[in-house]
């Protein structure tokens, strides 16, 4: 008997050793280009971002044969990457040269003395051509620490096939009230919900809150929690009402980035979704069956004549102070994200609305690419149409705790459990203070 146990334990030990050996070296690594350039390490949480930078590294190497770079890009899961980066910067070792930091997490990196390189010398010469509000969200004490990919204008994506079945013309949906009425028609004609709302992320609620006129959203313009104001209560009550009527359903999997949702939407599960412009890439890559069926329109307004969009989300690429090649990293970052060429590539490659407003009407943005193939040729007209209606957001150190409480509690209690929005928001506001 004893021999059996000994044998069993031996096998276990061997197996666990084998497993441990397999588990090393997580994450996906890819070299931007072959060759002998300076190695720059880059961390991101988004595979599309990684592909973009690898593409830009190849172009950079063609144009700068004397300053070649080898981009070592790693894609990690969202939370893992931010936590790893925080710990690496706090401890002062192990951080990459360049990293993507998502807007919700960015304030964590600005606490104390930021361990990031100020990018003023590459940003300031181009400031007149850039959408400045998109740089301010990554700034502290007059220093710019991150450069975004996009403006992130939120729009609404309609499934034209379903709208046609219900006889709804998307151009006639001007306000959220129109949207609810049209939604009812769609539900009656097709048996399918008009839209989905997120229960575990901010993309359904934040654009609706931020598009309200004025500088207040989840926080007031001067940075105080603003949850009990009408700006926040009204959209949540609106969404709750849509859910009660069946016009909206909770997004399968909890949010618009869940595998369950992609499958559901790809099968024509709902007639619309409001998300920022950058969501186009998720359609082309994860919902291929909707090709040619999706039309992009400005979001409905709360009242006629009020703003129809808000700059949403974002990812700032940062350079760490521990990088040994800060100047090269800066030059590459400026090339990839601030140059005219880089901004045109951002559009062509990622389908993002680029940061430089002076390229928006350039002919390159009219050329066919995988996005025009999917959505049609007039994508950019929507952006130009809402150009002056893109509301900004307040982002500061309070943003991570606020979005955390929304993602774990507020949205669940109001939209899933059907609790009274005013009561929930009052309690949450009190807890935050």
């Amino acid at each position: 008997m004893k021999r059996h146990i000994t044998l069993l334990i031996t096998i276990i030990l061997m197996l666990s050793l084998a497993l441990a050996a397999c588990s090393g070296g997580g994450g996906k690594t890819g070299d931007g280009s072959s060759g002998d350039g300076t190695t720059l390490e880059f961390w991101t949480f988004n595979e599309l971002h990684e592909q973009f930078y690898r593409h830009m590294a190849e172009r950079w190497n063609e144009q700068n044969p004397d300053r070649k770079i080898t981009l070592k890009a790693n894609v990690y899961p969202y939370d893992d990457m931010h936590n790893k980066l925080l710990v690496a910067l706090q401890s002062g070792t192990g951080a990459p040269d360049l990293a993507d930091v998502e807007l919700n997490k960015f304030p964590n990196f600005l606490k104390g003395t930021p361990q990031l390189v100020a990018l003023n010398d590459i940003v300031e010469p181009e400031l007149d051509n850039l959408v400045k509000s998109r740089l301010d969200i990554y700034a502290k004490d007059g220093n710019y620490y991150g450069i975004d990919f996009h403006v992130g204008a939120s729009v609404i994506y309609y499934n034209k096939e379903l709208l046609d079945q219900a006889g709804v013309n998307p151009d006639n949906i001007k306000t959220w009230d129109d949207f609810a009425v049209a939604g009812k028609k769609v539900l009656e004609a097709t048996g399918k919900p008009m839209t989905t709302v997120e229960l575990n992320d901010m993309w359904s609620i934040w654009p609706q809150v931020a598009q309200a006129p004025g500088g207040d959203d989840l926080q007031t313009a001067d940075g105080k929690p603003n949850l009990t104001s009408d700006v926040v209560v009204k959209p949540l009550a609106f969404q709750q009402d849509l859910l009660k009527q069946g016009i909206a359903v909770p997004a399968p999997g909890g949010g618009h980035h869940a595998e369950e949702y992609y499958g559901f939407m790809n099968d024509g599960g709902a007639a619309s979704v409001w998300m920022p412009m950058w969501y186009m890439g998720r359609f082309t890559d994860y919902m291929p069956d909707l090709k040619g069926k999706i039309v992009i329109k400005p979001m409905p307004a709360w009242n006629t004549g009020e703003p129809r969009s808000a700059g949403m989300g974002g990812t700032g690429t940062v350079i760490t102070t521990t990088s040994k090649n800060q100047d090269l990293a800066k030059a590459f970052l400026a090339y990839a994200k601030l140059s005219r060429e880089g901004n045109i590539e951002i559009w062509k490659f990622l389908g993002f609305d680029p940061l430089r407003s002076d390229v928006w009407d350039s002919p390159e943005l009219r050329e066919p690419n995988k996005f025009t193939d999917y959505f049609g040729e007039d994508i950019f007209d929507v952006l130009l149409e809402v150009k002056d209606e893109i509301e900004g957001v307040v982002v500061n150190e309070q943003t991570p705790p606020i979005s955390d409480v929304f993602r774990t509690s507020v949205l669940v209690r109001i939209l899933q459990d059907g609790e009274d929005p005013v009561k929930v928001l009052e309690e949450t506001q009190a807890q935050l203070q």
């Binding site: 004893k2 059996h4 969202y78 104390g112 575990n200 999997g253 774990t408 509690s409 669940v412």
Partner: protein, 312 residues
């Protein structure tokens, strides 16, 4: 054999090399032999714990660290922490209720000569313990998915129930966590109990049988009392394991965000504050609180089970 006595005196007079003298010295040698343990303990356990105690009184920001007294501990007593504490306690209690009796009974079966396919069951019950929690958690997340086609929903609809949103409701979420824990830790606990059972002398059972004791009597009067030391050990590590649970919850909800915090554990709360919100001071305070809680609970448990009584 030659008589060694006369030569011994001469040998002690010989001078050994310093290393050998150290190895033979009655005061230094024991220290030398435990040195690897002391070093690794100091480096990987004592230092982090002391440093966490220190950090729990600080505000830790990149490049700016200052002492703020008890403020972290004052911030700690909030509804979210209480929720995490409740969840962890509930989880610990349920895992104890399942993971002590069930493996004990199974181990008795697996130890019995009458059991068919003993070795087959021994290995199959143990295999889950070899899987990575990350992989197992992901598989469980999909199996307990909210879509109608998920594994668990296929089961319950076949039994005539409505499909459930397993990971979105409090009771069901805790159930899922317990199922995952049971699946994963059952084999380990069976192994402990099996080892304990092998140490019970066969003669006790034989003489009990001669005295006319039934199988049930033998289980209650011989097996259970003699397994007590093992049971106490399993209880102790289970209490610690229950309170320290994090990865299972993290993987089931693909991140640390469960709806209404139904899956938030104390370590999850530590992770959220310390890492996700970059507040390592508060995170350390949560860690120290966890240490105090598990220490207290374990001490009470050991006291009640009589571990501190002198053995007769």
């Amino acid at each position: 054999m030659t008589h060694p006595v006369p030569s011994t005196e001469r040998q002690t007079a010989v001078r050994y090399s310093p290393l050998r003298r150290l190895a033979y010295s009655k005061t230094a040698a024991p220290w030398l032999f435990v040195l690897p343990f002391i070093l690794s303990f100091a480096l990987f356990f004592a230092y982090p714990v002391l440093s966490a105690v220190n950090m729990s009184f600080q505000e830790v920001l990149p490049g700016q660290v200052r002492y703020i007294g008890l403020e972290n501990y004052r911030d700690l007593w909030n509804p979210t922490f209480r929720k995490a504490l409740m969840n962890s306690t509930e989880y610990t209690v349920f895992t104890l209720l399942v993971l002590i009796p069930l493996p004990l009974v199974l181990a008795v079966f697996l130890n019995s000569k009458l059991m068919v396919l003993r070795n087959f069951f021994r290995s199959t019950l143990f295999i889950p313990a070899l899987t990575s929690v990350v992989v197992a958690g992901t598989v469980f997340r999909l199996a307990f998915g909210e879509l109608e086609g998920s594994l668990m929903n296929t089961f319950v609809t076949a039994l005539g129930f409505e499909p459930q949103k397993w990971l979105r409701h409090e009771g069901l979420a805790m159930f899922t966590l317990i199922v995952l824990a049971t699946w994963r830790w059952m084999g380990i606990n069976i192994l402990y109990f099996l080892a304990g059972l092998q140490n019970i002398p066969r003669e006790l059972y034989e003489s009990a049988e001669i005295d006319g004791a039934t199988a049930w009597d033998r289980f209650i009067r011989i097996t259970l009392p003699l397994l007590k030391p093992i049971t106490i050990y399993v209880l102790t590590i289970s209490i610690y394991g229950g309170y320290a649970m994090f990865t299972e919850s993290y993987m089931l909800w693909a991140g640390n965000r469960s709806p209404n915090d139904i899956g938030l554990t104390i370590v999850g709360y530590l992770y959220r504050n310390g890492l996700e919100q970059n507040n390592l001071g508060l995170g350390s305070a949560v860690g120290i609180a966890l240490l105090i809680i598990t220490f207290t609970v374990t001490m009470i448990q050991l006291k009640l089970t009589g571990m501190f009584r002198r053995e007769d």
